[in-house]
Point group: D2
Amino acid sequence: MSLNTFGHLFRVTTWGESHGPALGATVDGCPPGVPIDEAALQRWLDLRKPGQNKYTTQRREPDAVKILSGVFEGQTTGTPVQLMIENTDQRSKDYSEIAAKFRPGHADITYFQKYGIRDYRGGGRSSARETAARVAAGGLARAALAELAPGLHITGYMVQMGPQGIDRSRFDWDEIARNPFWCPDAEAAEGWADYLDGLRKSGDSVGAVIEVTARGVPAGLGAPIYGKLDTDLAAAMMSINAVKAVEIGEGMAAATLTGSENADEITMGPDGPVYSSNHAGGILGGISTGQDVVVRFAVKPTSSILTPRRTLTVSGEETEIVTKGRHDPCVGIRAVPVGEAMMACVILDHLLLHRGQVGANRGHIG
Amino acid sequence: MSLNTFGHLFRVTTWGESHGPALGATVDGCPPGVPIDEAALQRWLDLRKPGQNKYTTQRREPDAVKILSGVFEGQTTGTPVQLMIENTDQRSKDYSEIAAKFRPGHADITYFQKYGIRDYRGGGRSSARETAARVAAGGLARAALAELAPGLHITGYMVQMGPQGIDRSRFDWDEIARNPFWCPDAEAAEGWADYLDGLRKSGDSVGAVIEVTARGVPAGLGAPIYGKLDTDLAAAMMSINAVKAVEIGEGMAAATLTGSENADEITMGPDGPVYSSNHAGGILGGISTGQDVVVRFAVKPTSSILTPRRTLTVSGEETEIVTKGRHDPCVGIRAVPVGEAMMACVILDHLLLHRGQVGANRGHIG
Amino acid sequence: MSLNTFGHLFRVTTWGESHGPALGATVDGCPPGVPIDEAALQRWLDLRKPGQNKYTTQRREPDAVKILSGVFEGQTTGTPVQLMIENTDQRSKDYSEIAAKFRPGHADITYFQKYGIRDYRGGGRSSARETAARVAAGGLARAALAELAPGLHITGYMVQMGPQGIDRSRFDWDEIARNPFWCPDAEAAEGWADYLDGLRKSGDSVGAVIEVTARGVPAGLGAPIYGKLDTDLAAAMMSINAVKAVEIGEGMAAATLTGSENADEITMGPDGPVYSSNHAGGILGGISTGQDVVVRFAVKPTSSILTPRRTLTVSGEETEIVTKGRHDPCVGIRAVPVGEAMMACVILDHLLLHRGQVGANRGHIG
Amino acid sequence: MSLNTFGHLFRVTTWGESHGPALGATVDGCPPGVPIDEAALQRWLDLRKPGQNKYTTQRREPDAVKILSGVFEGQTTGTPVQLMIENTDQRSKDYSEIAAKFRPGHADITYFQKYGIRDYRGGGRSSARETAARVAAGGLARAALAELAPGLHITGYMVQMGPQGIDRSRFDWDEIARNPFWCPDAEAAEGWADYLDGLRKSGDSVGAVIEVTARGVPAGLGAPIYGKLDTDLAAAMMSINAVKAVEIGEGMAAATLTGSENADEITMGPDGPVYSSNHAGGILGGISTGQDVVVRFAVKPTSSILTPRRTLTVSGEETEIVTKGRHDPCVGIRAVPVGEAMMACVILDHLLLHRGQVGANRGHIG
């Protein structure tokens, strides 16, 4: 069984394989009256697009998104929005190497074990290309958020590449767009560039940690107990290819703190409660506090590398594999816009859930 | 809006507050013909029960589970199973301190902001007591798994308390049940005992990391893309009170590895593929590989501590709070059986999804 | 597999068997701040309660509903509301006749074929007793509607018993509560009384048609395409035991009309559009028009009758069966409050869906 | 809010407007390994295609379906199947008449009231053109059923046009494909032809009743209580444009029968239980009996007629409307393949639900 839909009210179903005619996202539940056109969505896809610099795969696709339904005279109608991206760079490649072998650390083997189908063309649904559809849907979510919550901003950035993390004291929001790694620390970015050059030459790859922050999230979003804001964010981020961990606020480090260190104290500000710190990552009991919502996720290194690895053929014989082709030494780079897109979808979904609530925001403090 | 149901086919809806008449779990989708009775469920609840040693809250409740429906002549009928636990220790406590104040780091404030209702009696749905219902439902899931996948074993244990982690070289499965911390490392457990004694006396609390391992999980479980096995496990664990991070396999550390270090090589064993290591935590592309499924989650320290903290009253005035009462210095201890229960529910759910699949396990290797 | 949950945002899960310890409804998604107590719910249950007159089963149960969660200080908190009804009249009856035989026209045989379990005690989940839980949940829905849509009224009544329909020219809303059949036509009610007396004496049963009207439903409710208001009403009514058909507005008779006869013309009234007629039953394109929402459903005669019928034993041998016991000659009578309850749940659910919509009711006419 | 997805495990999301670039169906949950290609789907679309004879709209579209994903080397892979139909006949028509006026009996007014958007181009999502996507998805469901339940056959036919019903004694399965009305009674078909000629000339329209029969459905399908087979069929059929009533088996007539007349007696046949009649329509307690599953639904006459009708303009002024254009005098004709498609989707969905059930079909009789 497959479950390709995400969200409660803003429901995104992604579809399509990397080497079929097209892929896309069917978005149901988008509010009516949201101004949108293809150019506005394309802006986000272009950020994710591979082949933009030497650190990402050289597969070059225009990744042009088409709106097939749900928009009339420049605004959404409240009916399903179909976003399609045609695959144009399906070069008749030599698949003989991977067609008959399972790449270690890749979903090749489990998809075969589950479905009994060997769609060797680039990984099918397990390809990172599926995330293009998420970015398109995320663009629509952002357009809706711009209408519903104008002060809300979502920004993703990389905080660690391999063993090298950023220095938080050098954190600069404006730096993020200036380097190819979405890194808020210019100095760290330089170190990463050198490191990645070396990796690329050796045909190896490396993991990364991405952080996504949503500023301006109103208090009260989240649907306890099993639709908590952090629960849905954890699911959203973990569903991205190659993600192996998700943290909210203090994350794993929360385990090392005492209660007196961890709890964010509350005082009264001009516009409501003010917190002394944000260990909580903007979420208490699964509900937003009004502080920044902060999520991090770890992306493992891609398993498509030039180093020979032991593996099996489809018929179960032991062999070795070397994965040639156009792959990313650090797929985490391209995961940044994807993380932003998932954050946008989750926040919009919970904003819609919250709006429907009778007595929403009745609990005014001060 | 609240969303109190978890699962696709094995659907658990927990209900009830810590200080109402009762709480429980409505379980829909349990297969028929599973042998079950109250004693079998009680066994798991007794493990979670507070007041068992000096390291957990002294609130003493029998936590006796009753089966109200869905079972006839000792086996499930395929209809909803209602599991109820009556609250018996609702002592008429002095709530005056917390009734008018929000505990920092607690869901008090966000529940009020969301619902406009101040149910000050022990936290309502945000109380850890909700997890008793999960443990009961998890007991039912285990009973079903015992029928469907006899060789499958789920074990939870604590691998870190505050700053002190276990030494993996001393890992001993048999040790887990021997100490009050579910710790697989006897030496670490001794250190934790001392550390926790100190914390308890000072009225403070501390976080922890729990790991849950499922052995004997068949290959092929998981429903890509948004119902991946790891996606659902991330949601399951993040939905537990006080959890701030979830890791699969290598987890956050995957970010630090290279592709050649991280990918688990595959060779052929007598019963199918054998992996050289388990960085993946038993899941590739969201689908189980047949290796151990390994999940970790971080539990933050409870915010109910004796140290005075700045906070607000319900009417928005600044004040200080000291939370007296029967609280746990390390709530992570009691999260161990809860993590096991969530693992059992997720695995059973995916086993049921997989069984319905046409051509399930067609992809036989070797 | 069983699916015991109904609704999108106002989600009702009914549970329990007629002869177990209890049955009830787990209601998730009820808005916070709705005034409710057990007495307010009991009022609706008492209307449905059997044994009130000679035309319904003489099984006498107090059917006392208890609120176990989700209500604090007289109002809902936004968390799940657990409504429990204990079974008290489980007399140790002689089941030998039906324990080994399948009642023709009854779910006995299909439940056994599906689940492999023979819960002969009164039909288990297929018993009409399950509808008590619906009525309780419907009472909660009505309480929420009283807050959200004060002018909205839901009324059910019987329009046909066996071959005898009402005369619409004698329709009197006030008459409905005056006779044991919820009949709006006093004269028809008299005829039915005589007819039913005869049936009861002969040990036979008969079908009926119930109509439920919701007045004061705002325009705009309904979620096209597969959550249309009429789609959800059809599912709601068809899910009631013994229902074999559902009609909206003109219903089956719409097939016999021409387009010029069927379309309701529109003129402008002081408060918005006014329709010349209501063939549509208050729903166009799955969305409410603001007219009365009118639903009818046919209830088949109960199969538990004294007339001997050919059937099989559980082991497949041919036999005859006579169903003694406390059964209703016209179960349709007790279906009236159930139909009202389902209407209340569906309307509330769609009101909540609609409230969350951005730009809801933007399309103001005139 | 809109809800454009139907089904539990076999989930169909239809999307697209009649006058946008394309429409289609995103099908998630289709089993892997089902042989399918575009030609196999096209066969069903061609049956539904308008413009085939003088009794249906003269809008001529090739309605060519494309498979964009989920199929590899001629069989489904278990991933989402995207079925797209491009709109080719979007002639630049004069919409001035309907752009500013609401058609009585049409969803024009309610869509505007709900969404605040006036998509006047042919009705948008409320257009019958949406049903092309259902037929495509139904084709895929049939292909899966051909693999899973080879002896299962689904046939739709018209049993009433306006006031004229068929004579059941002349029922001939082979006749259905021979006349333009899918009528199993050749004599009735002739009468309908004359009647419809007259209606078409006068610019009026008429309703119809469609019956769909599924033969060879195994016993045990259906998921009580709110996912009963008849509940889901009622929702499926009621969600089709213009449908105002749904009947199972005896339908509304069940109300007129006594218990001794209505219950189908059971005897033992060589392959299991045999029923003396089929008043139940193949469903007891929401679960299939193994008999023919029989559903009927009433289609109202289209409101797009030449007769002048009173209505409002978008700005609320009273006016008259005459709907010119390419419309069907009896839209019920084109609803036949749509009803078949919905039956196929529902049966497949329940077959998949049932397969996953532990102990499915354990209840063997005889």
